[in-house]
Structures are given as C-alpha cells and as structure tokens.
C-alpha cells in the first residue's frame, strides 16, 4: 500500500509479547517559545534531543522553515516534527504557487492541524507556528491531536512551565524587537536550566513584517564544553618508530596501439 505502512505493527506487537524490547522514538524533551512584538514575531528553542535518559543530540535544530517568512518550532517526537514540517512546507509552497500568493500563517496552521488530526495524535508533533504574511504577524501553536491556539506569547514542550513563568512575568504589549528577543531567550534559558529534557543552546528566529526572516542559530551558547583540566595529547615522537617502509606507487601507463591503420586507404571499398 502506498503511504505510511502498518505492516510491521503486528510483528512488533508479537515480539513485544515475547519479551523483546521495542524501538523507542527519540523525543525532544523541549522548551520552545514564541512571542509577538510591535512589528513582528519571535520564536526560540533549545537544542537538546533526548532518547529516554540519554542526550541524543546536543545541538539539534528545532526551528523549521515552513516558508521563507513562516517558521515553526517543534516539540515532541523528533522525527515526526521534522517530517511533518517538511511535508507541510512542500504543501505550502505548492499551494502558494497554485494561488499565486504569498503563503499565510493561517494556511500553514490549517494544513498542519488537518494533517495531524488525520493521524489522531500518533504523529507526536507539538508545534509553535509563527510568521509574517500580507495580513501581518501571527503566532499560533498546534498540538499533536490537531487542536490549535492563538496567542501573544506561547510556550510548549516539557520546559514550557519554566518558560511560561518568564513570559507571564516579563511580557508586555508592544515590545521592541530587542526586548522580544531578550524575553524569548530568557524563557528558553530558564527551560535549559530547570528542565532536564531541555539543554544546550538557544536558537532564535525573528520574523519582522516586510523583512526577511532572521534565523539566529546558537544565539546563545551557555553550555560550552570547558577544556579538560589535563591534556591527553601525546607529543610527537612519544612512541618510538621501529621500522619504516615506503612503497612506491605503481605507475600504469596505457597506450592504444592502432591496428591496420596505415593501410586504411587500401581497405576502402570501392563502389
């Protein structure tokens, strides 16, 4: 069958019932936030991907591009957020070509929620969709089951409570671009420090009305790995060389020797 394949589901159930372990999806225990300001919208995310209690990726990208000026931050199952946003990005591009109009945030959100609703939450994608379009700047969030919210400031993921604390305290209407960037990165930083599922760096994307979107990859790097106290590099010559042998490279020369070339005039067939 075309489309997503369920063929292995029964097999996996059977194997699980026999005590074999099941494959686990990498989830992004995540902090993502979004916040509107005077002339646009900012979204931000941390960069830790986790698989159970293991950090799977210290610097993963959770900000995805849906359209040049519509970006989205994803929490939940890492692969699902990635693939769903890619698919919807393609659909959005096709749709904007079809309509001959710039894609709108509301379109992106609707495509996402319709797609996610179809899969009843089995696609674990929790997204904050933000962007600017001819109708202004917009900020919405989409849950895995297909429900959506619109807000001035939003947070999602396991660190959303810590982030929301910052947003609720420091948010005020009509902020400047710098204030909004500051607020969002503060919110993510609180997620990074207080939520075990979030960590590493802060990614940030600013979308201003009438301007190109700016992605600030690793806008803040509060978790730079410090140098080891001792250096374990061995100086050259620490290990004695017992013997050396240098092998000459074989040089192959190819020459094509033409056969019967000089008699070519004599070979010509005469009519």
């Amino acid at each position: 069958m075309p489309g997503l394949n369920f063929d292995n589901y029964q097999r996996n159930q059977y194997l699980a019932s026999k005590g074999f372990s099941q494959a686990k999806a990498t989830s992004t225990g995540t902090t993502i936030v979004g916040c509107k300001f005077q002339n646009g919208v900012v979204i931000a995310a941390d960069t830790r991907a986790t698989a159970g209690d293991i950090v799977a990726d210290k610097n993963c990208e959770k900000l995805h591009r849906l359209a040049p000026r519509i970006w989205c931050a994803g929490a939940g199952t890492a692969a699902d957020t990635e693939m769903v946003t890619q698919l919807i990005a393609s659909n959005l591009e096709l749709h904007s070509l079809y309509e001959n109009r710039k894609p709108r945030v509301i379109t992106a959100m609707t495509l996402l929620k319709q797609h996610l609703f179809k899969y009843q939450g089995h696609l674990g994608a929790y997204l904050i969709v933000a962007g600017t379009d001819p109708t202004g700047a917009h900020l919405t969030s989409v849950q895995a089951h297909g429900s959506t919210d619109v807000g001035e400031y939003l947070s999602l993921g396991s660190g959303s409570l810590a982030a929301m604390a910052v947003l609720e305290t420091n948010w005020k209407p009509d902020m400047t671009r710098e204030e909004a960037m500051q607020l969002c990165s503060d919110a993510i930083l609180l997620g990074i420090w207080n939520d075990l599922g979030s960590g590493s760096n802060v990614d940030l994307c600013v979308m201003e009305i009438g301007k190109d979107a700016n992605l600030y990859r690793n806008y803040m790097t509060p978790n730079v790995r410090i140098a080891k106290e001792r250096s374990y590099k061995f100086a050259r010559g620490t290990t004695a060389v017992l013997q050396t042998s240098v092998r000459d490279l074989l040089d192959v020369e190819e020459t094509v020797i033409p056969f019967g070339q000089k008699d070519s005039d004599a070979m010509e067939i005469e009519a």
């Binding site: 069958m1 075309p2 489309g3 997503l4 394949n5 369920f6 063929d7 589901y9 029964q10 159930q13 698919l87 393609s90 659909n91 096709l94 749709h95 070509l97 079809y98 179809k118 899969y119 009843q120 089995h122």
Partner: protein, 150 residues
C-alpha cells in the same frame, strides 16, 4: 447518506473470507492461493491486532470524497455528484497502468485534478508503495482478466 467527517471504525461483525484476499475464478468463495502466491490467508491476522490508525488512514480519502459528494447532493441536487462520479469513472476506465509497473495509483494527473489533489503532496506521493516497499504485483493476466471481466 451521512455527513461523516472521519471514517467509521471498521470493527466487523461479519467477515467475508473472500474479500480479504483474491477470490479464485472457479470458486469465488475461496482465495486464489496459487495465483496470489502467498499461501492460505489467515483471516484472524487480517482482522485482529491491527494498528488503530490503519483503517482510518485507508478509508480517509474515500470518506472525505463521500462527504463532499453528499454536500454537493444537498446543495446542488443529485446531478452534481453523479456528474463528478461519472467523470472519475471515465478517467478510471481510460487510464490504465499495469500493476507490474509499480503501484502507481497516485500518478494519474487527470484523477488528481478531479479529486483536487493536483497541488498537494502527501505520504502517498513520498512512499509510493512500489516494489521497494515489499509490494508484489499480481500477474498481468489476472489483472487484465479482472479488468475486462473475463
């Protein structure tokens, strides 16, 4: 007719063994085990312990189409859905791509236009269910026999 938005759960109360596999020409109540090449069909495995999403996804497009047709019927009268179904039937009847060339049901541009899918992309277009995903085509002759009603 109803205006169902999502497909119904397919918890069958009656199972027709013939519809779960290819029915044999000579004994339509039985599977054509020789032609399908899969051996006897285990009816229980076709029904029990399936993923809860499977039937929903399978019937999704069908259900959406029925929903739309029912809306058209209520708004414009019976003629509209009849016309559209006939157009689809014409395309289905004229466009023929043998299964041995791949499971390309989604590649028919005429059908996509009629179904308003010509400017969208979905998993069906990404994972086309071709030979690489374990699709075993039926042999060409039985496909033609079925198509021509022989």
């Amino acid at each position: 007719m109803s205006l169902r938005v999502v497909p119904e759960d397919t918890n069958r109360s009656v199972v027709n063994s013939a519809e779960l596999g290819t029915p044999a020409e000579h004994t339509p109540a039985l599977h054509d085990v020789l032609k399908s090449g899969n051996g006897p069909v285990n009816v229980a495995s076709m029904i029990n312990n399936r993923h809860p999403l499977e039937s929903r996804i399978q019937n999704w497009d069908r259900n959406q189409q029925d929903f739309k047709m029912e809306m058209y019927r209520r708004t414009f009268g019976a003629g509209e859905p009849i016309k559209r179904s006939m157009e689809l039937a014409i395309v289905d009847a004229t466009e023929f791509r043998p299964l041995v060339l791949g499971n390309g049901t989604t590649n028919c541009i005429h059908k996509e236009i009629l179904l308003n899918k010509d400017s969208t992309v979905d998993w069906e277009d990404v994972y086309t269910g071709g030979l690489e995903s374990g699709f075993v085509p039926k042999d060409f002759h039985s496909e033609m026999e079925k198509r021509m009603g022989i």
